[in-house]
């Protein structure tokens, strides 16, 4: 290494091809073996772990959903006891919302965004790793508790006073509340990483106006996470404090307020659903553009819609509280705001349909998911408009109509795009394509199963069936509809199973994909599938929104980054003018160690407040070692006199 010509320390016209690849790999690879795996800061590895873990939680929570449907298939069924059912529906909601829906979006972003932006890694790579470990530990804690019959049973929203110390005895709700803290910290860390990467590490020439729409949606979402998640962290902290320390935040008899919980929770909870939905719109934008073979129609309108949705989402939360007896004039405001948020979404739908209309669409499996999304999500959005109206909501709130609504928007609006995006970027993750035929089968099963399961719930709700009931009396007119829903659930599960098996089999035996199997325009397709550990041999430069369509094989690149030291390029926020070469952290075990220390502190603090004090010590030590400034291992490159 030391006998290399110092002029060849940076990539450039002289240093290219095989030699460049060898030296970049040397600089960017992580140590082999378990130590390397645990200390990895490679965003692709972290992203893949996140996706696999999130899908694992999806399957676990999905099985719980199947069990619920088995119980509700018949009236007065004795299959599941009341206590077990209450734990199951709480775990289903909690896992889906906190351990699947948001993390999976972050996961795909962590993998795809740096490639899409043309950089070598995310910002704050160790914080990225830390975010994953915190997420994993929180999820494990929750599911281990559930397996030990200590799972929470107060609903995923855990309203006080039901979740308070008197009516939820024991540790069940404490574990739930502390899981929130884990996913909080994880989500905030990932949001900071995402926002910084998108704002500061784009390819030269990729101004904000030329940034891919998925990157825009992740930018908005990252900022939303930073503003919304602290509300629920505060809420759950106050709940733990009430339960363990004896404070009275939610105790009306000591000047607290039971409704305070709901306000803080829904102040987070409503932006949360847009945090889940907006990345999905990003997926759709990318797939629609690729498979319509033209850029999305009215890019500025879509961007403004994303931003408008992100802002408006914070002003809607009281629509979850229309039955609580707050002043009615205030309610009218929230009705209007909830209706208003449909406008940007409507704009996006129009733009996608217009893109298809103006383009030359090709109906590969990802495009089928796009169509399924439009057909399904719009129903959910329209029932949402119904629920925004106070008189309608006062009848439909807390009935199966709402269950139908949110499954339409969450599954139709987030899971369908996710499955499409997984298929779309699968070749980039693994180097192989998923089977088209089995993908179509999976789509058909999921689509039909989904509608069969959830459409009847609109009617069940209008016939008066409330939510969160472990059984229902016969003869109310709900029997057949519930049975249909349960049958649909089996079909839906078969569809998901087909998708997962397709993915697993295709990883080994799928058709080998080249760099750009879909002829897509984005920068992530400019590198091999899967990408090398350093992403791009030279940092690409862009001049349009669809670089690979406009430049094709002659993608301009910017050279000059060091090859024997981890380095990426930082650019300015708006114009993406290159500014500095930034060192990228080496693999480190200390994010994992810090996550363990902090995680143990959090878990132990459920049992004694002393844990916070005692746990501060190992946490501080781990963080200190993590942040301790390190000297460069390679001598500084010579400067020109």
């Amino acid at each position: 290494m030391t006998d290399l010509d110092p002029d060849l320390a940076r990539d450039g016209p002289e240093l290219t091809g095989e030699e460049l690849h060898r030296r970049l790999t040397l600089a960017w690879r992580r140590p082999a073996g378990l130590y390397g795996w645990l200390s990895s800061t490679d965003h692709k590895e972290i992203g893949k772990r996140y996706i696999v873990t999130a899908f694992g939680f999806l399957l676990l929570a999905g099985v719980l959903g199947l069990v619920m449907r088995a119980q509700l298939a018949r009236p007065e069924s004795g299959l599941i006891s009341a206590d077990r059912y209450n734990q199951i529906f709480t775990m289903h909601g909690t896992t889906m919302m906190f351990l699947f829906a948001v993390p999976v979006m972050e996961a795909v972003a962590i993998y795809v965004i740096p490639l899409m932006l043309g950089t070598r890694n995310t910002a704050f790579t160790r914080l990225n790793a830390f975010s994953y470990w915190m997420y994993l530990f929180g999820g494990i804690m929750l599911w281990v508790a559930f397996a030990l019959n200590v799972g929470p049973d107060a609903g995923w929203f855990a309203y006080t006073p039901l979740s308070g110390p008197e009516f939820s005895p024991g540790k069940r709700v404490d574990i739930w509340a502390q899981m929130i803290t884990f996913t909080e910290v994880s989500g905030l860390a990932a949001a900071v990483v995402m926002a910084t990467t998108i704002l500061k590490q784009r390819a030269p020439g990729m101004t904000l106006a030329k940034m891919p729409l998925f990157a825009w949606s992740m930018l908005v979402v990252a900022l939303m996470i930073i503003f919304a998640l602290p509300a629920v962290a505060l809420d759950s902290g106050m709940l733990i404090s009430d339960r363990l320390v004896g404070t009275h935040f939610f105790n009306p008899y000591e000047r607290g307020d039971a409704l305070l919980w709901q306000h803080l929770f829904w102040f987070f909870g409503h932006p949360e659903v847009y945090i889940i939905f907006l990345p999905a719109t990003g997926f759709i934008s990318e797939m629609v553009a690729t498979f319509s073979r033209r850029p999305v129609f009215a890019y500025p309108a879509v961007v403004m819609s994303l931003i408008a949705t992100g802002l408006l989402a914070f002003g809607l939360w009281v629509h979850h509280m229309f039955a609580t007896g707050l002043p009615r004039l205030g309610y009218a405001f929230y009705t209007a705001a909830s209706m208003t948020v449909a406008i940007p979404t409507g704009i996006q739908i129009f733009c996608w349909i217009a893109t298809i209309w103006l383009g030359r669409p090709v109906y590969r499996v990802p495009m089928l998911w796009v169509l399924g999304f439009i057909i399904t999500f719009v129903i959910g959005g329209l029932t949402g408009v119904m629920l925004a109206s106070v008189p309608l909501d006062l009848q439909l709130h807390d009935t199966y109509f709402v269950v139908a609504h949110f499954h339409y928007v969450l599954i139709g609006g987030a899971v369908f795009p996710l499955l499409g995006a997984t298929t779309y970027w699968f070749s980039k993750f693994t180097g192989r394509l998923m089977s088209e035929a089995w993908g179509k089968v999976a789509f058909a099963l999921v689509f039909c199963g989904f509608h069969l399961t959830f459409f009847p719930m609109h009617i069940t709700g209008m016939l008066g069936m409330p939510r969160r009931v472990y059984t229902y009396p016969a003869g109310m007119g709900w029997d057949t509809l519930n049975l249909i829903s349960s049958i649909g659930a089996v079909i839906l599960a078969a569809g998901f199973a087909t998708f997962v098996v397709n993915a697993l089999v295709s990883m080994r035996h799928g058709r080998v994909a080249g760099a750009n199997p879909w002829s897509a325009p984005g920068l992530e397709w400019a590198t091999t599938s899967p990408p090398p550990v350093y992403n791009f041999p030279h940092i690409p430069a862009v001049a349009s929104r669809t670089p690979l369509w406009d430049e094709g094989e002659d993608l301009p690149v910017m050279t000059g980054l060091r090859v024997d030291e981890r380095e990426h390029l930082t650019t300015t926020v708006i114009e993406a003018i290159p500014s500095v070469r930034e060192p990228s952290p080496h693999p480190s075990l200390w994010p994992l160690m810090s996550a363990i220390a902090i995680g143990v502190t959090f878990v132990a603090s459920i049992f004694t407040p002393w844990a916070l004090v005692v746990g501060l010590v190992p946490s501080a030590i781990a963080l200190l070692i993590w942040f301790w400034p390190k000297n460069s291992t390679v001598p500084p490159e010579p400067t020109i006199e």
Partner: protein, 327 residues
């Protein structure tokens, strides 16, 4: 493939137009608010179906027939679209607000019912202003005079519950520390079912009650009968049951007016046998279910606050006989 999907999607909303009537259904019921609700619902339903069909039509058009280079047309359509959905949403908001305002302008004629929600039963008190001796206490049932607006005051003894008679009006939560209220004006005679609509713990699924809407004279008769103390036991078996109920575990929690049983923490049993259900909607009121409930209340409603007493068979017969006599 796509066409089939589109066809399914097109037909599916028609499903929603089928009648949604029933004992606990939201449409077609018997409340003053119901007409308003039904009208607003139809407006929203039609508007949303129309918009959905427009979106589907656009998608179908885009999938089946497309033209390249039609950007100006699309741009114009875009502005029209944004304008149309904005105006429609404004219209829907205003319609919703007007209906809400009208619903909340019900006149109050002096009939007040105070309902306290417990885990998992309903404590009902009919208040006659100025006549405290006319206060009627009952549990897990509601009788309402047709055509008379009733103010229902909602309190909670423990966690958040929700009062909801779908056929008559929307819901309102019972929140500890807050006194919410709702005005219900039934317009059609009938028997409706109500169910708690906010998750309140283990037996949230079994917290319901029956609502009987009847003519004013019948209602007043019912109220008067309800103020009478419990019937005196007649047969020896009933007397044995009376002896057990008033001296053993039952009296600690339940109240039977006119007897030594004066517990306040469980449903009032003074006119128990006149109710339609046992256990807040868990069982219909009949002999078989009464025996089942008394022998093992934890079987049908596990976790509810009535313990298994462990009655011997003859005690069971006696207690059941006595309770059946409490009309």
């Amino acid at each position: 493939m796509k066409r089939l999907a589109l066809l399914v999607a097109l037909l599916a909303p028609l499903f929603a137009l089928t009648g949604c009537h029933g004992q606990q259904a939201v449409l077609g019921g018997g409340g003053r608010d119901e007409a308003l609700f039904g009208g607003l619902w139809q407006v929203f339903l039609i508007v949303t179906i129309v918009f959905y069909l427009v979106v589907l039509a656009g998608l179908t058009w885009a999938v089946l027939r497309r033209r390249e280079g039609g950007e100006p047309v699309v741009r114009t359509t875009f502005y029209v679209w944004v304008g149309v959905i904005s105006l429609t949403l404004i219209g829907l908001s205003i319609a919703s607000w007007l209906v809400d305002r009208t619903m909340n302008r019900a006149p109050y004629t002096g009939l007040t019912v105070e309902i306290t929600g417990h885990q998992w039963w309903w404590d009902v008190r009919y208040i006659s202003p100025g006549h405290p001796d006319q206060t009627l206490r009952t549990s897990n049932e509601l009788h309402l005079p047709v055509g008379v607006p009733v103010q229902v005051i909602l309190k909670s003894a423990d966690v958040i519950h929700s009062f909801w008679i779908p056929n008559l009006s929307g819901k309102q939560d019972l929140i500890p520390g807050r006194n919410n209220d709702i005005v219900v004006t039934p317009t059609k005679v009938g028997i409706y079912r109500s169910q708690c609509a906010e998750y309140c713990g283990l037996q949230h699924a079994h917290m319901a009650f029956d609502v009987t809407v009847e003519p004013l004279s019948t209602f007043q008769q019912w109220w008067g009968d309800g103020l009478l103390p419990a019937r005196v036991p007649a047969t020896p078996e009933q007397k044995a049951g009376y002896a057990y109920v008033t001296t053993r575990e039952c009296a600690t929690c339940h109240n039977i007016t006119g007897t030594p049983a004066t517990g306040q923490v469980a449903p009032d049993l003074t006119h128990f046998a006149s109710r339609a259900t046992i256990g807040a909607g868990t069982f219909p009121m009949n002999r078989g279910h009464l025996y089942a409930w008394l022998a093992d209340p934890q079987q049908a409603k596990p976790g509810n606050k009535m313990p298994v007493i462990g009655l011997e068979p003859d005690q069971l017969h006696a207690v059941a006989a006595y309770l059946e006599s409490l009309k």
